[in-house]
């Protein structure tokens, strides 16, 4: 039985380790082989980029060697897949190697696309890559005051990022002693300040209390860099001195090039996590088109379900449970406080008042992540 995992991010890594433990005996006897094909020898803790952008984490804290995170027995290759030949049950990598599979798992993730909005890449700061987060930090340090506009594209990775960066910017400028010279203005695509109704009900009064203005039903259309104006699809516009963007995301190019899904999102069964029409191809994390948050925790909980199911299929010939849509997101609320939202397909979240305890747990989780990726937490 050959299991091939494409992608070494959070979903692929947790799944690989989960399977290696559940199938320890089968790996030892050669009945099962697990291969992971990734584009990078490094594994990045992506949520840390938010902290890099405001100078509270350094980029080197975000990385570990991918091989060091994996259970023995997983064949790890830095050799990204370029061709998916699902009819032959094969994938072909950049080096030209062809891997046969009985079970294929695609967990290639997503990427922020600044180029999707005219003028955005040239005029906005963002934090979805190491390079952009460091650039944003330098810009924030140099900024002496004016109007900061936070704007949000759809879909985007990490649904709490728009709120979190806004609260963090409030703290950042306050600590620099220039908050009174900075106007923070938040825009959001739908008719409230967050997609989760209960989160929006909590966040809007917080914005009011902190003097953060906001405009809802605002979807970026274009940026006029010369006049420093951001225009929306809805016909409004807003001036800025510093523009911070949470840009729209797409799945990876290789997914679209292989015709597996429009914009790089693969049509995926929401409970079994198999690619639609493919019984032995599974999809994890951001790569699915399931209408839930593109977040590390989504990939984490999906990977745990899938690990249990693939192992059970090998041992008893049947999956054992459905993915219930579980997502858990911390919400950094500023001033060393945080809360969280946990929900699934049937139960909406009910976030509590932010506390220092949750904030410090989140800071601890920034380190505990590595235990999570190893499948220990």
């Amino acid at each position: 039985m050959k299991i091939v995992i494409v992608g070494g991010g959070m979903g692929g890594t947790i799944l690989g380790n989960n399977l290696a433990r559940r199938l320890h005996h089968e790996l030892k006897t050669g009945k099962v082989r697990i291969t992971m094909l990734s584009a990078s020898e490094k594994h990045m803790y992506q949520p840390g980029l938010l902290y890099v952008a405001v100078g509270s984490m350094m980029p080197d804290e975000l990385y570990r060697d991918q091989a060091s995170l994996l259970e023995p027995g997983i064949g790890f290759h830095v050799d990204p897949v370029e061709n998916f030949m699902l009819d032959k049950r094969q994938v072909k990598t950049k080096s030209g190697a062809v891997h046969d599979y009985d079970v294929l798992v695609i967990a290639t993730g997503s990427r922020a696309i600044m180029q999707g909005i005219p003028g955005l890449a040239e005029n906005a700061e963002t934090f979805y890559t190491e390079e952009s987060a460091v650039k944003m930090l330098k810009r924030l340090r140099e900024f002496q005051g004016g109007r900061v506009v936070i704007t949000v594209g759809v879909p985007h990775k990490c649904p709490m990022a728009p709120l979190e960066i806004t609260f963090m910017l409030h703290d950042f400028f306050k600590e620099r002693g220039i908050r009174d010279k900075v106007q923070l203005h938040y825009t959001y695509p739908i008719g409230r300040v967050h997609s989760l109704e209960n989160v929006a009900k909590w966040a809007a009064p917080e914005f009011d209390r902190l003097g953060i203005t906001y405009e809802t039903l605002f979807n970026m259309k274009e940026v006029d860099g010369k006049n420093k104006v951001l225009k929306s699809e809805e016909g409004s516009s807003t001036k800025f001195d510093l523009l911070v963007a949470i840009p729209a995301h797409k799945g990876m190019e290789v997914i679209e090039k292989n015709g597996l899904g429009q914009n790089g999102w693969i049509p995926t069964n929401r409970t079994r996590l198999n690619m639609e029409g493919q019984e032995n191809v599974f999809v994890l994390g951001d790569t699915t088109n399931i209408p839930i948050s593109k977040a590390g925790s989504t990939a984490h909980f999906e990977a745990e379900t899938l690990g249990e199911n693939i192992a059970a299929m090998i041992k008893v010939g049947s999956a054992v449970r459905d993915y219930d849509g579980k997502v858990f997101c911390f919400i950094e609320a500023g001033k060393d406080r945080a809360t969280y939202a946990m929900f699934n397909y049937t139960t909406p979240p009910d976030p509590k008042e932010p506390t220092r305890a949750v904030h410090w747990f989140k800071i601890a989780y920034n380190k505990l992540y590595w235990a999570s990726a190893r499948g220990l937490l």
């Binding site: 759809v154 649904p159 997609s195 979807n219 209408p291 948050s293």
Partner: protein, 77 residues
Amino acid sequence: MMAEKRQIDARGSFCPGPLMELIAGMKAANVGDELEVLSSDKGSAADIPEWVKKVGHEMLSTSEENGIWHITVRKVK
């Protein structure tokens, strides 16, 4: 190019939610395409038409069946 009819199954989606799914779907659609959103959130019956009107697309129909809202919209620009 022939206009297409697409379905966006946003049942059980609290985050990003049906309207965000529609906004993303609209970006990927061509002018003239019809998008039907399935939503288990009754709020969609109000917030989707509000956005569609504001941005200038066309509402085609809204109906509810066994707790699922079917909201159909045409991309016009």
